[in-house]
């Protein structure tokens, strides 16, 4: 019975998925109701998770772990899931994707991510991953009459299935050469002479890298970001990244930590390549969603830099980076949701011109977000990069630091380009005024968080360092 208590949040989430399906089927025109109940059940899951005891618990023969790291990551996931849902309500309605399946599939994806975050066994992890991935395929092609959206879904499906295959192949190698699927046992049986297992780890890293879209496994990202409905894009940009990074940290620091010398160079390469591509490829983009795709690739590169250090500070900085990145992306996507004239959503960067004249407050928020994404002090984005540089320089990885530094300047260029269009260019027609409170709320809260972060930056750092005691 005790075990069931520990996995209550997961059980609750599964039950609510099933019961919401019932509600959706039996109540007519129930999108609004289902959406509301989805947000409600996500909120309740957060409460249940907060209720868990503050100790390391391993259940189901040590294949499922509940520790403060997992709890923190789960809360982030659920919280940003709620924010994505409330900020995209208007978009969903106007684009006629307000089907009951939409929030329910998001719930299913979230459940998958939560399982991934807590998994302590390769098989459980894979189950969570597949639940998440299958839900994401459907979400990407949710606007089924739209050519681009269908294409995005199909592309994502084919490539992601391939990545899952590689991942599974890697798992089988690891199992074969270490004799276990449990993280702790793997860690025990793993050493650098175990060439077969090292081989398997490379496949695992490839699979994980694909899921958080870092170079050279990023090809799907721009197309999927552009093709999928913006509400789904904002979900893609935020929520799966949390689980992806969490799992990355868990894999590298628990089962594979013994052979850090083997994977470190791989991660450094992934990190540098992503930073460079994210900075350079975004320069020529005109579609803001595509630009955000490249921007997210670059940001994931920075996040990986923290993991590559192999130190506690490095992981801390990665988690801080991730958290701040989530807030910035939330704000940016909230601004993108506001680019609407007469019920048509615009995606071209040039459509933003004159925002500063027609909607000075939105323009100001967008400005804050963009400067923060570029990492200019005193905004939160600067501190995110600062911590990463701190941990990278501590272990004397100067190549990473220099790459990060140069790409910061290069990527500042394209963020500035958007600011230029907003503030310096000739005004175009005004966008529609938004009356959606959820959207406004997300924008305002993220702007305020980014702006005031510098007053007391240790707060987030303290929380993060307290969850990493083990």
């Amino acid at each position: 019975m005790q075990t069931i208590f520990y996995i209550l949040p997961e059980l609750f989430l599964s039950t609510s998925i099933l019961s919401l399906l019932m509600v959706g089927v039996f109540v007519r025109r129930s999108f609004k109701l289902v959406n509301l109940l989805t947000i409600f059940s996500l909120g309740l899951t957060i409460v249940l998770i907060l209720n868990l005891p503050d100790e390391i618990i391993k259940v189901f023969r040590e294949s499922y772990i509940i520790d403060s790291f997992a709890i923190f990551m789960k809360i982030l996931t659920l919280l940003f899931c709620i924010f994505v849902l409330i900020s995209s309500k208007e978009y969903i309605k106007i684009n006629n994707i307000d089907k009951i399946e939409y929030p329910i599939i998001i719930l299913a994806a979230t459940l998958g991510m939560i399982l991934m975050i807590s998994s302590y066994d390769l098989i459980i992890f894979y189950l969570g991953l597949e639940l998440q991935s299958l839900s994401l395929y459907i979400l990407a092609s949710f606007k089924k009459n739209d050519e681009k959206s269908t294409e995005a879904g199909l592309k994502y499906f084919v490539l992601s299935a391939l990545a899952s295959g590689l991942l599974l192949y890697g798992f089988s190698l690891i199992y074969g050469f270490t004799g276990s699927t449990n993280f702790e046992l793997i860690s025990k049986n793993l050493n650098e002479d175990n060439a077969g297992a090292v081989f398997g780890i490379v496949f695992v890293i490839v699979g994980l890298a694909f899921k958080i879209s870092v170079v050279p496994f990023h090809m799907w990202t721009p197309d999927v970001y552009e093709g999928a409905p913006t509400s789904v894009t904002s979900f893609f940009a935020l929520v799966p990244k949390i689980a992806g990074i969490a799992v990355f940290i868990r894999f590298m620091y628990v089962p594979f930590f013994n052979i850090i010398n083997q994977w470190q160079t791989i991660i450094i390469f992934l990190s540098i390549a992503s930073m460079i591509l994210g900075a350079v490829a975004a320069i020529g983009q005109t579609n803001i969603k595509r630009l955000m795709a490249y921007s997210s690739i670059g940001h994931m590169g920075y996040a990986l830099a923290g993991i590559a250090t192999g130190t506690n500070e490095g992981v801390q900085s990665t988690i801080v980076y991730l958290t701040i990145y989530l807030v910035m992306s939330l704000g940016t996507f909230a601004c993108i949701f506001m680019m609407k004239r007469e019920n048509i959503f615009y995606e071209n960067i040039n459509d933003l011109s004159g925002l500063s004249k027609n909607h000075p407050m939105i323009a100001l928020c967008f400005l804050v977000m963009l400067f923060s994404l570029a990492g200019i002090p005193p905004l939160a984005g600067f501190f995110a990069k600062f911590y990463i540089f701190m941990s990278v320089i501590e272990v004397k990885m100067y190549a990473l630091a220099v790459a990060g530094l140069i790409t910061t300047v290069v990527s500042a260029f394209y963020y500035l380009r958007i600011i230029k269009i907003i503030y310096f260019d000739k005004p175009k027609k005004a966008f529609d005024e938004t009356y959606d409170l959820g959207l406004k709320f997300s924008l305002i809260i993220s702007t305020i968080l980014i702006l005031v972060y510098f007053i007391y930056p240790s707060l987030l750092l303290e929380i993060v360092s307290s969850i990493l005691i083990n």
């Binding site: 540089f389 500035l416 230029k420």
Partner: protein, 498 residues
């Protein structure tokens, strides 16, 4: 003293900016209220800093009014404090900002509210740079100033403003991120970013060279030194008058201040090692940019190039490491802050009326604008370092200091003084004297009330400090002595260690 006066001075403009931001209502009342709030805040801040100067004790070499609060726990503290050097820069900043606001009232005619917000936010960042006693806080303010300045150039600037704003931003950012790496490295080497502690901790000399170069890259771009100066003429030409004034008067000084405080204070051995580099680059800057200034057809560009030359004097003065040289370069920075601000305002005055910055489109202004001709004359003469103006005191002291160290550099640098006379007088002749160039010029009005008061205050200070620089020198005296002494003992320490 328990009242955190430095924090107050730093953050009062920010509070003013927030007030302006929340003003709402009819367009006209908003503009009016914003105007009053901006003027009020900047003047109050000026009074505060006067009070700070008054209660500052120039006979103590330590930092005064030190405030310390935990900020990033276990890593860096929020620490402010001033010594004799930084207090003068604070005064300069709080004095120039109201002038910029008045000039903005005169010449900015759209998005006025946003303009005041940008100027006030910028003031906070600039003051923060001069007050901060922690490297991370310093970096935060140093770099944060890019945001408002980028917007000031980009929104209210001239036709090529986008290019100029981007160039300004990216150049400075590239220099600054290197400094960030250096700051983090200093933390890992010494375990602190507290400037007061760092002045005593001796960083091992094998690290110093690279760290120095990283700091140098940031300051050399910002100062700017030849050959990193190319962003400056563009930024100056395209920026609105108030932007040019702030840029020339204060933003450039942040780099000079950085050299004084960090390069000399924390990295003495590398400063000693790289002195020839600084001397070389500065001498080239003085002669080369003076020659370039001679050939300019755009008034703002001419003054921008002359700024680069004057900053060359500042750097050779700093790295001469003599008392005269250091004091000279500080006085030179302050006086250049007043003079270049005034010269840009002079250009702004005619630009507002005639919308041209080309020298060739003017001529004979003395006939239509006698007051203006008089003011312009004073500042042109001050710009070339005429005795009796503050420009002379700075240049003279710098040359005096450098002569003791390296006579050749001093001789070459004094060529710059001659060239300055050439371009300034020629500029003056072409704009003010001669035939009246066109009918439109004939209709131009002389200085209005606000402009007259602005110029009078600047004229007064320029001449006052030219005749009686004692208040400045007595304020910085002990701090400069302390700086040199510290530097010398450090050098001795390292040479013994070898």
């Amino acid at each position: 003293m328990n009242f955190p006066i430095l924090s107050a001075i730093v953050f009062i403009p920010l509070i003013g900016a927030l007030f302006i931001l929340v003003i709402n209502g009819e367009q006209k009342t908003v503009v009016n209220n914003a105007k009053y709030v901006a003027i009020f805040t900047s003047l109050v801040n000026f009074l505060f800093s006067i009070f700070l100067w008054y209660s500052f004790d120039p006979s103590i070499s330590d930092f005064q009014f030190v405030e310390e609060n935990t900020w990033i726990k276990g890593f860096s503290n929020y620490q402010l404090g001033v010594d004799g050097i930084s207090i003068l820069f604070i005064l300069l900043t709080t004095f120039i900002t109201p002038i910029c606001i008045f000039s903005g009232i005169n010449s900015i005619n759209f998005k006025i509210k946003e303009f005041f917000v940008a100027i006030l936010v910028l003031e906070t960042f600039m003051l923060g740079v001069f007050c901060s006693l922690d490297l991370v806080i310093f970096y935060l303010f140093f770099e944060g100033g890019l945001i408002p300045m980028f917007l000031i150039i980009g929104i209210w600037g001239g036709p090529k403003r986008v290019y100029a704003a981007f160039k300004f931003f990216l150049f400075t950012l590239l220099g600054s991120v290197l400094m960030l790496i250096a700051i983090i490295s200093i933390y890992w080497i010494t375990g602190t970013t507290d400037v007061i502690k760092l002045l005593e901790i001796r960083i091992p000399h094998e690290y110093q060279y690279l760290l120095w170069l990283a700091f140098f890259s940031s300051f050399a771009v910002k100062l700017p030194m030849w050959p990193f100066h190319t962003w400056l003429p563009d930024a100056h030409v395209e920026a609105p008058t108030a932007g040019s004034v702030i840029l020339a008067a204060i933003l450039l000084k942040m780099a000079g201040y950085g050299f004084l405080r960090f390069s000399l204070g924390i990295l003495p051995i590398a400063s000693d090692y790289f002195t020839p580099l600084i001397f070389g680059l500065s001498t080239i800057a003085i002669i080369y940019t003076s020659l370039v200034a001679l050939m300019q057809e755009d008034m703002k560009k001419l003054i921008a190039y002359s700024s680069v030359a004057h900053m060359g004097f500042v750097t050779i003065g700093i790295f001469s490491l003599t008392k005269q040289g250091l004091e000279g370069s500080i006085v030179q920075m302050l006086s250049h802050g007043l003079i270049s601000a005034a010269l840009f305002l002079c250009v702004g005055v005619v630009y507002d009326r005639f919308h041209s910055r080309m020298i060739s489109s003017y001529g004979g202004l003395v006939n239509v604008m006698p007051k203006y001709a008089f003011v312009f004359m004073i500042f042109a003469l001050a710009g070339l370092g005429l005795p009796g103006t503050s420009g002379f005191v700075g240049e003279f002291l710098v040359l005096l200091g450098v002569f003791q160290v390296n006579a050749i550099i001093a001789v070459l640098a004094s060529l710059g003084v001659i060239l300055a006379a050439a371009y300034m007088l020629w500029l003056y002749k072409r704009v003010i004297f001669g035939k009246i160039a066109s009918i439109e010029i004939k209709k131009m009005k002389d200085l209005n009330k606000i402009e007259t008061y602005i110029f009078l205050s600047l004229v007064f200070l320029t001449i006052f400090f030219g005749i009686y620089p004692e208040p400045l020198l007595s304020t910085i005296d002990i701090s400069v002595d302390n700086l040199i002494e510290n530097y010398k003992t450090n050098l001795n320490f390292y040479s013994l260690q070898k």
